[in-house]
Amino acid sequence: MKLANVRPLSFYTKRSSGLHILLVLLACGLSWFSWNAGEKQRKINIKLIQSSVRVDMVALPQRTLKELAAIQSRPASVAAKKEEVAPAPKRVEVPDKGNEFLKKGKVVKKKSLAELLKGYSAKKEVAKKVKKVSQPQEGLSNKEKRLLEGLIKSGNKVQEGDSLVGNGSAEVSTAVESYARKLSQVIKPFWTIPSYLADKELQTRIRVFISSEGRVVRATVYESSGDEEYDKRALEAVKKASPFPVPEEKISKSVLSGDILLGFPL
């Protein structure tokens, strides 16, 4: 080995570090690029969920619109407590022709569920009829029996809905979705706009990053309405409503990474 060819150590250090820096930069660039591509993918994966309850009517409503509105605007701490309503099975044809009526779209908080059920005394009759009809049929499988029992228990009339217009298609919600629903209930009371924005049909979407304690770490405008004031009001509503219910541990990571978008109004 010729000594003449040996360069000082600093020369190699410089080269090596230069190469490494380049590699790191390349890695950063690539990952940024792929993350962006992922974001695009995420956009396609957007799933709009809305919270509502479908109510099938068998009698005139006992509660007035005002009473229902009062229940709805109650802070969602109550809503957070309420039990999950299992997606009800398909509606059973009740042998009571013409006396049932689909009331779709009205958003009713589940807090009132028990009272609603109590209110619809007629409902019980319907449920009883179902039972009577079902008894002579020996051939019911256990699964069907359980379904029917669950149906009777739930009054056959109230089930979890999944959209504001209540198209009634029962979907099993994920933990993130049910948490997101809670958020929308918590934020709703704080969501106000001045009258001059009311008729403009604006829409904005806010992306929220929520810590495992339910605090809003960050809230950004994901899709702007084009109106500064409107976006500002939506952000304010989110901030005022914080802190939110504590997310379950299994979803805390995705909630923190901003998987939830809040649509104002959709």
């Binding site: 792929s34 969920i49 009526f101 009331k103 779709k104 106000t192 001045p194 009258s195």
Partner: protein
């Protein structure tokens, strides 16, 4: 080198792996903040009699009362005195107290008991004069002038027309004696002022209906005669001339009339062919055309503003429970659709101004209450509760309010019935008729 590549790959997989999709949740429609509104007076010069002072304050009180109907939209602040035009400084202090508009009334005495008033509307947000209306008034016409000026100002603020110019016709038993009960037709401003008696039949008037420009009323009359064959005939009254004439005197009942758009023909219930059916009747020729044909009774038609849909009551579902149906009034039994499936006794379906909703009365817990339903049968809502027995709902011209009659039982033999106004969501604003006897069947001009 290989290690570097590995690291790179690791970073790449990390960023891609985080992709699970976003969840959008709808927060829903925002509550709309009320606009702060101040109505104030600029300095009034000259010496005034007590009468004149009273007239000016009546004008102001009425102006505020108009806007108080729209309490979901406006928050009326107490007026302060502004002696001249608003200054920039004023705007800022007003804006900080939540005021978005203010109206400055400048009164000027032009003759004894007659004033000129210039109403200036300012937008606090844009710091500018939006509108200026001037009118003159005396004690005879100040109500009309206030309502007209306010309607202009309201339109400027909201871009929509108001109820301020609208009228309500109704039936009252004022003047009845113990032995002779009479019900005559009256008309009033939407706020209960300016009551005018329209008829003097000394009989019982039922089911009035106003045409679209509020110039004519249809009504049916049960005459106070001793004869057993009392026919219920349909009349039309020209409000401007005060003349009334019989439109239909077919055998049996001719009632529940409703103007079709254009005002040339009407829909009504007649029983001359035996069963109660709904007919369309040309006012000029008197020719009748059947709209419904069913062995069960069909009554109480109400037509939407475009004339494409008719809501009515029918017993065709059986069980002795009248249900609400819609149909195309331009044909015979055309596009009949059942709207209501519940209720022991549904009555008086009426379309909203835009035809998207139907308000009706239904029997629940031993009384009538008011309910609302979309014209396609969705979204059934209860509007009144624990407020006496409520019947005869009628939408306002802008669709934001519903007038109805409410009856309270005072003792076993006595009950009072008055007309009330509520918002379309059932927030009751107050009693409109006062010391007018028992008032029923309000019909709001469109």
């Amino acid at each position: 080198m290989i290690r570097n590549l590995l690291v790179l790959l690791f970073i790449l997989t990390l960023s891609v792996g985080a992709d699970e999709g976003l969840t959008v949740v709808a927060v829903g429609k925002a509550d709309i903040e009320k606009d702060g509104l101040i109505i104030s007076r600029a300095g009034l010069t000259g010496t005034l009699t007590d009468n004149e002072k009273g007239l000016v304050s009546k004008y102001e009180k009425l102006a505020k009362n108009d806007f108080s109907f729209y309490k979901e939209r406006f928050n009326l602040h107490n007026s302060q005195s502004h002696d001249s035009k608003a200054t920039a400084k004023d705007y800022d202090s007003l804006a900080s107290s939540g005021v978005r508009y203010f109206i400055l009334n400048k009164f000027e005495k032009i003759r004894p008991d007659t004033f000129k008033v210039n109403s200036e509307l300012y937008s606090v947000r844009n710091k500018e004069l939006l509108e200026s209306v001037s009118t003159s008034f005396s004690s005879f016409d100040y109500r009309k002038r206030v309502h007209e000026a306010n309607d202009t100002l309201f339109q400027k603020m909201t871009g929509k027309s108001s109820i301020f110019r609208s009228k309500v016709v109704f039936v009252s038993d004022k003047g009845s004696t113990r032995s002779r009960g009479i019900k005559e037709l009256y008309m009033m401003d939407f706020d209960g002022g300016n009551v005018k008696k329209l008829t003097n039949h000394r009989g019982n008037i039922i089911s009035p209906a106003l045409n679209f420009d509020g110039s004519k009323v249809l009504y049916s009359l049960i005459k106070n005669s001793k004869s057993k064959k009392r026919n219920i005939n349909l009349y039309i009254l020209d409000i401007r001339t005060g003349e009334s004439r019989v439109v239909s005197s077919r055998k049996g009942i001719n009632s529940g009339a409703f103007f079709m758009p254009g005002g040339e023909s009407i829909a009504l219930t007649m029983t001359h062919q035996g069963n109660a059916e709904i007919y369309s009747l040309n006012l000029k020729s008197g020719d009748a055309r059947r709209i419904t044909k069913h062995y069960q009774p069909d009554v109480d038609p109400s037509i939407n503003a475009s004339g494409s849909k008719m809501a009515f009551l029918s017993g065709r579902s059986g069980g002795g429970k009248p249900m609400i149906y819609t149909a195309d009034p331009n044909g015979l039994e055309k596009n009949v659709k059942r709207i209501s499936y519940v209720g022991k006794f549904n009555a008086t379906p009426r379309f909203s101004a835009d035809g998207s909703e139907i308000v009706f009365a239904s029997w629940l817990d031993n009384r009538f209450d008011i309910f609302r339903i979309d014209e396609n049968g969705a979204n059934l809502h209860r509007l009144t509760k624990d407020f006496g027995s409520n019947e005869d709902p009628t939408y306002s011209n802008d669709g934001q309010f519903i007038a109805f009659s409410s009856q309270r039982v005072i003792s076993r033999s006595k009950a009072v019935q008055n007309i009330y106004i509520m918002t379309r969501d059932g927030d009751i604003l107050g009693q409109i008729t006062k010391s007018m006897g028992n008032c029923s069947t309000p019909r709001w001009s469109k």
